[in-house]
Symmetry: C2
Subunit: 128 residues, 2 copies
């Protein structure tokens, strides 16, 4: 399976989880390819709306470009949503990370699987 | 141009208008083809989030299926958004209509161009 279709599958998996828990969630068309700062997924439950950048990962660290994180925060500020990154490491559950908890390097943001387990929220924690 | 690509163009046109006015807006992937009640467009401006069903029309009346309107309202109730239908009649501006202002028939909802002009809001009015 291509990296792109793995990413799509991951986004769809998250969307199913939201609807199953009584939230509404959609995949944003054109994320990563249009000129506006659009997240991968938007979810809401009447009083909370959240914008999510999703990643699946076969390694022990997850990198984000500075542009990805800047645009996620920019979208949320305009739209009125919370910003989260969601990461699926191999054989782990999804972790939801506040972008402020990512480590900044010269050219990117990064989080290790160890830090994700400490700082990240599980799906059920994030929506509660 | 196919009906589908005309619909896409219309959605993209609306999305540009929102961003131009300082709102964030996205096109929802899978609208009309996935199992969840997903609107065509979602837009937000920090305190308001709105879900939109978009139609372009070459006639003088616009029909909606009962399912379209039911799902638009259902999505908004769960997500926490307002529900609007946006209609573009030939040589007219976009009209934004509250779904409650559509006329119900046995099998559908409908609005005439005349009623859309009376009851509908222009883009600038709807976002203000």
């Amino acid at each position: 399976m291509s990296r792109k279709s793995k990413g799509l599958d991951a986004e769809r998996e998250l969307i199913h989880k939201f609807w199953k828990m009584g939230w509404a969630a959609i995949r944003c068309a054109g994320s990563g390819s249009i000129k506006y700062p659009v997240p991968d997924v938007l979810a809401g439950s009447s009083t909370r709306q959240i914008a999510i950048e999703c990643k699946t990962n076969q390694a022990t660290r997850q990198y984000f470009t500075k542009k990805e994180i800047f645009e996620l925060k920019q979208f949320s500020e305009i739209f009125g949503s919370e910003s989260w990154v969601a990461i699926k490491f191999p054989k782990k559950q999804w972790f939801f990370i506040n972008p402020e908890d990512l480590d900044e390097t010269e050219n990117s943001y990064v989080i290790s699987i160890e830090k994700a387990q400490i700082k990240g929220l599980l799906f059920e924690e994030m929506i509660s």
